[in-house]
């Protein structure tokens, strides 16, 4: 690019312009932007601020925050870099274009012999015959190969100057103007005024989760805000007239000049449970419309209304109504409590352990997993609806649960499945409660109830001891043993197997002793609870004088496993979802980006420009025919030298042949 530098002018302004339009500055800026961009990809952007504090510690957190590293691409200095690049490139285009256009149409017919001979590609020869017709022949020859030709005759020579592919120079123009246009469009959509308002503190992002009506003025933007990108969630049947723009650790509220109603949201799935399509039926209510506008949007099929683009972006539960039964684990005999609540809301419940807040977090209509059952014919199985909720006690501690609505079949038996975890980062740990033939957890609850009834327990223990058929106990000792057993079994029922093990560890030092003790404890527990289980069966009218069926025996095994976990389960109740009314919400992304078409225009220019620059090569050749019959052929190719060498040789061969032979017209004349 050195051969067409505009001529230097002096003066401070000119020097400044030269600096602004210099390639070095452009490259420096590009490198700076590239480095900033890399930081942006390495450092997770726009996370909750707490995560950053944990990661970097309080000191570096503040430093990085001041540098705007958590939202680099929106940082003022980053926009400044982009703007600066825009200026540099504009100045460059401004300075180069005139000389470039001149160069494109300038054939340089007055090139000096000396300078032609300085070209890498040049050749001289002296043909034997007359060169009088050479200019015309050369012109035809070069035109036939796609060159544009000018001929100029002076006193001592004729110059045939030709060039080809000069529009590759336009490529430079297109590409660089394209870059300018793209940056311009990007800056418009980057909404500099908004960034500035934020920088000066005129607007302040809201960080609390409060209703729109309570959000203070300084977090609400004007309706004519030119460019933004925000999102809003609308439940089925609901309407929205604002969107929320995430900003740093908070959000801003952007009112819309119309209201969007969500009539229906549909989601389809593949067999594997992967989502196949999301669709929202929207109705736009606008005073300027005679009739509300109805339109269905889907991923990749947005609605553009008044320059606002409305995209389908996500979905969530929109407040489904959950009707549940809460079985008390502390008083299993009580009739289960009926509870009703909506997802995203909370309900208070009272238990013997105190008051709890039940926060309903999510509802899923189905849960599809790869089928791991043996001999299964289907690849996937549906576990059915599930509800996710948290139970928060009075001290604010919460445990999260995930309960399936319908009993799940595992190895031919049915279980009520509930998962719990105390931190979101942990996986759920599941408890499988066996379901009786009536499809409920009644039998399990009855077993638990009787096992928690001290009198029943006493009776069962005595029955067990009676089975030992030993009469040599002294009554005091017998009393002590039976109290011990009651304590152990109660501990098992109320706090689980782990608690029993802990007690064994406390009482016995050696491992062998511990093992032995554990074994006999488990035997005793099984015996006592087995006795109670027989009572439960009897109550149900099952004849127990015959052998217990395999099913009922298996139920006991499963119940033992479940009982051993109800302690650590951590919840005073077992919540069973009875029925629901499904309400979905659609997550919409709404943008206004007036710069988009400008960016596209710039992209087209850039693409055209790049193709011109890369695939057209500006080539020039000169044939200087001296009055004394000597020929000088020279040429220069801009870029792509290897190809030009070949072409130059071919042209030279042709021209030599032409100059050596009598021309076709001479031939005819002869």
């Amino acid at each position: 690019m050195s051969h067409n530098k505009p001529e230097r002018r002096h003066g401070r302004g000119a020097v400044f312009m030269e600096f602004l339009g210099s390639m070095n500055l452009a490259i420096t800026l590009l490198v700076a932007i590239a480095i900033a961009s890399i930081i942006g990809t390495v450092l997770q952007q726009n996370e909750p601020y707490n995560n950053y504090v944990i990661k970097f510690g309080p000191f570096w957190f503040e430093v990085f925050k001041a540098l705007g590293l958590y939202d680099i691409y929106g940082a003022v200095w980053f926009l400044f870099l982009l703007g600066f690049l825009l200026v540099t490139t504009s100045v460059c285009v401004y300075r180069y274009t005139p000389s470039l256009l001149r160069d494109m149409n300038h054939f340089r017919t007055d090139a000096q012999e000396k300078s032609l001979r300085a070209f890498k590609h040049h050749s001289r020869w002296e043909p034997e015959g007359d060169v009088g017709r050479m200019p015309e022949l050369a012109q035809r020859f070069l035109t036939g190969r796609g060159y544009r030709v000018r001929v100029k005759t002076t006193d001592d020579h004729t110059m045939v100057a030709a060039m080809k592919g000069s529009s590759s120079r336009l490529g430079y123009l297109f590409a660089h103007v394209g870059i300018v246009v793209i940056c311009l469009g990007g800056l418009i959509d980057g909404n500099v005024p908004l960034k500035w308002a934020d920088y000066t503190g005129r607007i302040v992002p809201e960080t609390r989760d409060i209703p729109v009506s309570q959000i203070p003025e300084h977090s609400i933007l004007s309706e004519d805000n030119a460019a933004f990108r925000g999102s809003v969630q609308i439940p089925e049947g609901g309407r929205a007239g604002v969107v929320f723009l995430g900003m740093r650790d908070g959000y801003l509220v952007q009112p819309l000049p119309f209201r969007i109603e969500l009539e229906d949201f549909r989601i389809e799935h593949y067999e594997s449970g992967m989502p196949k399509s999301f669709e929202s039926d929207l109705v736009i209510h606008d005073e300027e419309l005679d009739q509300p506008l109805r339109q269905t949007i889907a991923v990749n099929h947005p609605l553009i209304y008044k320059g606002y683009a409305i995209y389908q972006s996500s979905f969530a539960d929109g407040g489904s109504l959950m009707k549940m039964r809460a079985w008390s684990l502390d008083e299993p005999g009580r009739e289960p409590l009926q509870i009703e609540g909506r997802v995203n809301q909370s309900v208070r419940i009272n238990t013997p352990r105190g008051g709890y807040r039940l926060e309903l977090d999510d509802f899923k209509l189905f849960n599809i997993f790869p089928n791991e059952e043996e001999g299964a014919t289907k690849k996937f199985r549906n576990f059915g609806p599930s509800v996710v909720f948290r139970l928060r006690d009075s001290s604010g501690q919460a445990i999260e649960f995930m309960n399936y609505m319908s009993p799940v079949q595992i190895e031919g038996r049915y279980f009520f499945m509930s998962g719990m975890r105390s931190a979101v980062s942990e996986p759920y740990r599941y408890i499988h409660i066996p379901v009786g033939s009536d499809g409920t957890v009644k039998r399990f609850m009855r077993l638990r109830e009787l096992a928690m009834d001290p009198e029943r327990m006493q009776g069962a223990v005595e029955q067990q001891m009676g089975l030992l058929e030993r009469t040599d106990f002294d009554p005091a000792l017998a009393r002590q043993v039976s109290d011990n057993i009651v304590a152990v079994v109660s501990l098992f029922v109320r706090q689980g197997l782990d608690a029993v093990f802990e007690q064994v560890q406390a009482n016995f030092k050696e491992e062998a002793q511990q093992q032995g003790a554990m074994e006999s404890y488990i035997n005793v527990i099984r015996g006592v609870l087995g006795g109670i289980y027989i009572d439960v069966l009897a109550e149900e009218g099952i004849k127990i004088d015959q052998d217990v069926t395999e099913q009922d025996a298996q139920f006991f095994e499963d119940a033992m496993t479940a009982l051993s976990l109800t302690g650590p389960y951590g919840s005073p109740v077992l919540l069973q979802l009875d029925s629901f009314e499904h309400v979905q919400a659609s997550g919409l992304q709404i943008t206004r980006s007036p710069g988009k078409d400008i960016v596209y225009l710039g992209c087209v220019m850039l693409m055209v420009g790049v193709f011109f620059m890369l695939y057209l090569h500006h080539r020039r050749v000169w044939l200087r025919i001296s009055a004394d019959g000597k020929l000088l052929f020279a040429g220069s190719g801009h870029r792509n030298r290897a190809d030009f060498s070949g072409e130059f040789e071919e042209l030279e061969r042709g021209l030599r042949a032409l100059s050596a032979a009598p021309g076709p017209d001479d031939d005819r004349a002869a």
Binding site: I27, L30, I33, A34, S37, I38, G40, T41, Q45, I72, Y73, L137, R140, F141, G144, R145, G186, R229, Y270, E271, S272, M274, P275, K276, S277, F278, A298, V299, N300, H301, P302, A309, Y311, S313, Q589, I590, T591, S593, K596, V599, Y600, C603, L606, M607, V610, F611, L614, Y615, R639, N640, R641, A642, G654, A657, L658, A660, A661, P662, G663, P664
Partner: protein, 348 residues
């Protein structure tokens, strides 16, 4: 020098582009036209406007491609014949892939891709062997293997496309949607680009260098298939169900293929340069092309890559605009595309 008037006339006015075409070229054009018409006649009813447009645009594109690079014709015919054969044998049942010998061992997408993998690796070895012992025969074997591997790779993708529809009409999609598929595309594209330059420069000595990167891709493909089950055809999530994606991904991979080629030629260049520094005379009878030639190939393939990469990035932005509501969100993928672009822009 005696020159006949005819030859001068000839050298004055070069015959026009069309006059330079051979009868074979016209047969090729007729063949493509016939295939296009047949496709339209059979499936025109199922196509929407875009698809008809794509069909009508791709026909002349293919004709020109075949005119410009003659070997492309045999390649296209081979791919088309094998793919159609496989589809025909498949019929309507995916199960045929397991039971019909022809599919199970040769043409089912999984088998075709395994053949491709094996042949690319063998080609790499053949090229290096040829370079080491200066055996033109071994080099030719390398070329033949590369051609075959590229054929099998593309056939594999074509058949996979059909298989995805056999799995279920709602699952079917063009196989450019996961890492496994695009790596195959990458291997094929890079292979074809290399073959093009090999013919242009009549020099097979760079084969080993370029095929090394393809073999690396093959290693990844195999690892991904066997360790991660990447070869399983997965349905598309909604964001990927877009025309932009179908255009964006192949465009991008032509770009990547060209960049990869340039990078490996660059490696050869560095070798040559070091040798030139140590012993300039050794270059004269070097097996590798001259530095200028290497530079030329490198420049051209970066130029090609850059052009396609530019278009692909723009297409990607358009797709993002439609799927996610913003043409540019500075997500890591987009940002790195920009960084790559800026890097090559600075180089050019």
């Amino acid at each position: 020098m005696s020159v006949s008037p005819e030859s001068i006339q000839e050298s004055l006015e070069r015959p026009s582009f069309f006059a330079r075409l051979t009868p074979y070229d016209w047969v090729w054009a007729l063949l493509v036209a016939a295939a296009t018409i047949a496709t339209y006649a059979l499936y025109g009813g199922l196509m929407d406007g875009y698809e008809v447009g794509i069909l009508l645009m791709s026909a002349p594109g293919l004709v020109l491609f075949g005119w410009g690079w003659k070997s492309m014709r045999s390649y296209t015919l081979a791919v088309a014949a094998l793919s159609l054969l496989a589809i025909w044998v498949y019929g309507d049942s995916l199960a045929n892939g397991e039971s019909k010998f022809f599919l199970k061992y040769i043409l089912a997408s999984q088998s075709a891709i395994m053949w491709m993998s094996a042949m690319f690796v063998m080609a790499t070895a053949a090229y290096y062997f040829g370079l080491a012992i200066r055996s033109e025969f071994s080099n030719r074997v390398g070329s033949a293997l590369t051609w075959s591997a590229s054929t099998m790779g593309l056939v594999g993708l074509m058949v996979r496309w059909r298989e995805s529809y056999l799995m279920g009409s709602d699952i079917g999609h063009i196989p450019v949607s996961n890492l496994y598929e695009v790596f195959i595309l990458f291997a094929v594209m890079t292979g074809l680009l290399y073959l093009f330059y090999e013919q242009q420069y009549r020099n097979r000595s760079l084969g080993g260098f370029v095929l090394t990167v393809i073999s690396a891709a093959v290693a990844f493909i195999l690892w991904y298939a066997f360790e991660r089950g990447g070869h399983q055809i997965q349905p598309l999530v909604p964001a990927l169900q877009s025309y932009w994606m179908k255009l964006h991904v192949p465009t991008n991979f032509i770009g990547y293929g060209a960049f990869a080629l340039a990078a490996m030629v660059g490696v050869a260049y560095l070798f040559q340069e070091r040798r030139a520094k140590r012993n300039p005379a050794a270059l004269a009878n070097s097996r590798l092309p001259s530095l200028e030639q290497l530079d030329d190939v490198m420049y051209k393939s970066i130029a090609l890559g850059f052009a396609f990469f530019t278009v692909a990035t723009v297409l990607g932005a358009m797709w993002a605009a439609e799927a996610w509501g913003g043409y540019w969100s500075w997500d890591p993928k987009e940002t790195w595309a920009l960084i790559v672009w800026l890097n090559y822009a600075a180089w050019l």
